[in-house]
Symmetry: C2
Subunit: 244 residues, 2 copies
DNA sequence: GTACGCCATCTTGCATGCAAGCTTGCGTGC
DNA sequence: GCACGCAAGCTTGCATGCAAGATGGCGTAC
């Protein structure tokens, strides 16, 4: 037997009726990529799920070619593993994988914060306001005990930090890498102590950016992610998650 | 006419006689990727070169399919751009591209140095020795006035830093990103003042790693790359390189 | 002479056909 | 009863065929 969850539904790919070929580029391949990535992130396709290109192609109503390309991308990003002659396996994240991911986020978000503080001046006020608003949302959600809303706001803060730093490459890399830790963060959301500290640390970052102090901004961003790492990784190790 | 350099030779792809399919996976597609990437990095295929998938496939002695996959990867990494209906364009790097790349390297190498210092203990002595050896090579090359050898050793130092940090993801990301700046570094090699400072800064990094001081190690690594950035980018801007 | 519109060609994206290797299950021999 | 060998099937990688859209050139009209 291949796996336990062959019967998982993968229906419902959004066939945007734009150019089937042409400038939109990679219509089907891209659709397959986005659909599968999203399905894995939301656990619609669980870790350990195994299937062949043909099966996935059939479920998605397309041929093997675009699925093949999507799989190559997903493998590069660590979401799946193409097993030699056995099919495609949805991979989980081990605690050490997560450690790697957090170390990268520490570096990238530090760089983003630094860059934001360096740019300074003009558009910064707007960014600061956005970051402040998201931090406020976190606090409100935390007060209300709504951890999902807290996680949404927290994620939005970190997304905004890298998205607004003006460095498109950082944005793309961070999105890819942090996507991989999405499941882990959500799963452990209730195993962690209430994240009261997060908002404070976010404000440290915001302040340094507003003060146009790149060194302090980078330092604050790294310290924040470091603390998250040192909190999250031990929990996973203790739980002895082989993969999640 | 498409471009000026259609007649460039792209012959000579190394057809490793391993399994044409099977476990090695992506034999031809991977070969195409590596060959093209290398050719672009070494300027065998110059910036501005433009061709179609069919032409490249013919030159490489394979069909369009593996070339197509290779191109998708190269585009994601920023080496080429697939123009809607006009073919594939080898992209150059603008000064702001290079700024982005350096900001990322600042972050990633900082994280690598931090991680190395954190691991501490056992295998660190070996890594420290390797880094020290490469730094020595830089000094010797610099004394001999051999800038190419200096650049080789410098590159090896930075490669070793991220490769030995134990984080495979950092290694891969850094390799991809730093590869893109390869041409720029080489081209400006003789436009910069003699890099006497580099060896000193490398030793700062090495010392902090040896002392198991992650904060200092990260800080030193970032400071080193920051200086390189602030030296290189203005040169490119001044030269008004649209792309290189 | 210039500008606009139409047609042909070119290029890519996807579907399908083909080949080859690994895996696995069964049969046989010890 | 167990282990080894063989064969068949399954799965992926690559080649090729097909279709569709955009671009550029050429012809015509003003």
């Amino acid at each position: 037997m291949k796996s336990g969850s062959r019967d998982q539904k993968i229906e419902g790919i959004r066939r945007t009726d734009e150019s089937p070929t042409g400038q939109g580029s990679e219509a089907r391949a891209d659709a397959a990529y986005r659909f599968l990535r999203n399905a894995i992130l939301t656990n619609e396709i669980p870790v350990g799920f195994q299937a062949t290109e043909v099966e996935i192609a059939a479920r998605l109503g397309m041929s093997r070619t675009p699925v093949h390309e999507a799989m190559a991308r997903l493998q590069e990003e660590g979401f799946v593993q193409i097993l030699p002659r056995r099919g495609i396996l949805v991979k989980g994240l081990s605690p050490s994988d997560l450690l790697e991911i957090y170390d990268i986020l520490i570096g990238l978000e530090g760089a983003a914060a630094e860059r934001l503080a360096l740019e300074g001046g003009d558009g910064i006020a707007e960014v600061v306001q956005e970051l402040e608003g998201l931090t406020k949302r976190m606090e409100l959600a935390l007060d209300a005990g709504d951890m999902d809303a807290w996680a949404d706001a927290d994620e939005a803060f970190h997304d905004a930090l890298v998205a607004r730093c003006g460095n498109g490459r950082i944005r793309r890399l961070a999105a890819t890498v942090s996507g991989q830790s999405h499941r882990a963060r959500r799963l452990t959301l209730n195993m962690r102590p209430p994240p009261k500290q997060s908002a404070i640390e976010h404000r440290d970052i915001i302040q340094a950016i507003a003060a146009a102090d790149p060194i302090a901004a980078g330092s604050a961003a790294r310290a924040h992610r470091r603390r998250a790492r040192d909190q999250l990784v031990p929990i996973l190790r203790r739980l002895n998650f082989a993969a999640l």
